[in-house]
Symmetry: C2
Subunit: 327 residues, 2 copies
């Protein structure tokens, strides 16, 4: 099926707002015969669209498939720049690797790499990220903020705020953020964000924000070692979530918060981050390469550093695994 | 000429410390006839080596060509890791671009990219760097320090210290550093260093140190717009400088200072940097993207930030072009 025809058909259905579209109207719009229209509808059905056909009324779109592709993401996207250049591939080793390559080739601000399946998904600190086929959102967003290097960690915090808001908006769930940038539901991880950057010593060239979002996994989709610590939106919500729509929402909240950041600086983002963060005020254990610290999380500073009140004084935590002590 | 034979021949000459090496000795070492030896010597001469031949005495190496290649750099290199993996190409667009590619492919700490000619050499802040054929050192060193992101600028300062020391050691000249990392002789630029990095939000993956060093240019090699502001080692010293030997010296001083940094931290490097810096204590103009500041340079902090005492108080300068006001 030619993607231009598919796109136009979906536009027609979406414009009619769940009302029927007559065969004649489709014939006129696409400039083809009724037989051809029927064939196009059959093609849509094969791709997972549920289309109802009623005599004398025409066709009606009941449900889009949970499918992500360039078209699905672009159609209905409400942003100016975020997600406007999409590089979609069914299967990749890692969307971050592709994004790095695109950065070196000059890809513009807002470029988005998306895949249905990562064979070698990357997590923070050189770990892997379990990215099974067709169930999650595996993507990397390329940003080119003109900021000095020391402000780069603020972009990570901005990303977790934007994704938390998008999930809340789309599903009604109330995720919380665990420092630095895990997003949890009921204490289990639903989003991990790998932020990488390319920079000069005094200037950022590109920030690559790579969230892995568990969307439609069921409990059995997780390997044994993740079952107690990971969850998906579907498992928490009790129903499937439209991945393309969620990507669109993330692009919108992200662009909005980014513009705010560029206009008003980090202060409003920091305030939002702290309002979503579950870490602040809690007793935590921070495991760093230099050893382990136990104390109360006081907050973050403008560099995204976690301030930990320990017995020996206030400790700056730059990079660590955090465990929240049950109280 | 097979590189193994060339390498062995040069080793023989170097081991004899400017004494003659007899034909017989060469025959024995290489396992070939006197005629073959003569042919190998002729090949060396074609590559620019000056070899003296004296009857009954044998051959003596008078002068190596100012040539850089993997062999020239490796032979006599006294480091453990720095420069041990060399990627040499006669001509490249930019050694930084190749280094980025190697970083993504997992090139180890200390890997060095060197070229004789850059067609699109990169300078700081997306500028170009004039890199004519066969006259300078155009290289990129890949380091993989396990340091948090906010310490990355310290690597730039470490690089300028190591290169300043290597130049002083090799030539007897006394270069000075202009913040952040230009190296000057008699007020003119002889080295520029582009430092780029790949990092996670909280951890450095790789630092790519790319110095461009003007070595054997004469005044006519510089384009008109650089004549007043740039110089070369040869122009200041009055004689040619062996580029391969200078690369070796830089690798040695760099490795030494890097190991010191990893053991004792930034304090000793900062002290050295300040002792070579011409900026400190001077009245300067700092041109930043946010405007221009005039004041007295007080020093640098641990993040490599320049502290400028202005009429309105102390200003932190993260990224700027610096002009030193004549007093």
């Amino acid at each position: 099926m030619r993607s231009a025809i598919r796109k136009r058909l979906i536009e027609l259905f979406t414009a009619s707002e769940q009302d029927f579209v007559s065969s004649q109207q489709i014939c006129d719009e696409l400039g083809c015969s009724r037989t051809a229209v029927w064939k196009h509808i059959e093609d849509l059905r094969k791709e997972g669209y549920e289309v109802e056909a009623v005599r004398r009324k025409g066709y009606r779109l009941l449900r889009k498939p949970d499918k992500i592709s360039e078209d699905e993401i672009l159609f209905g996207l409400e942003t100016e720049l975020f997600g406007r250049h999409i590089y979609f591939q069914e299967e990749v080793a890692s969307t971050q690797i592709i994004a790095h390559d695109l950065v070196n080739k000059g890809a513009p601000h807002g470029s988005l790499v998306v895949s249905d399946h990562q064979t070698n998904g990357k997590g923070r600190l050189q770990r892997t990220w379990h990215s099974p086929n067709g169930t999650g959102i595996w993507m990397s967003l390329i940003l080119r903020p003109e900021i000095p290097l020391h402000k780069a960690p603020q972009m990570t915090l901005l990303a977790s705020v934007a994704i938390t808001e998008a999930i809340a908006q789309q599903t009604g769930l109330s995720p919380s953020i665990k420092w630095p940038n895990d997003i949890l539901l009921n204490g289990k991880k639903v989003v991990g964000i790998l932020t990488e950057l390319k920079a000069e010593a005094d200037q950022v060239h590109a920030v690559i924000i790579g969230p892995g979002i568990n969307v439609n996994q069921t409990a059995n989709d997780f390997p044994e070692e993740l079952k107690d610590v990971a969850t998906s939106l579907q498992m928490e919500l009790g129903e499937k979530v439209d991945r393309a729509a969620l990507i669109q929402t993330i692009m919108s909240t992200f662009e909005k918060r980014y513009d705010e950041y560029m206009t008003y600086g980090f202060a409003p983002i920091k305030q939002l981050w702290e309002s979503y963060a579950m870490t602040i005020g809690k007793r935590i254990i921070a495991r760093t390469v230099n050893g382990q610290y136990v104390g109360t999380a006081l907050g973050i500073n403008d560099e995204g550093v976690l301030l930990l009140e320990t017995e020996g004084g206030i400790q700056n935590i730059y990079s660590a695994d955090i465990e929240i002590k049950s109280t």
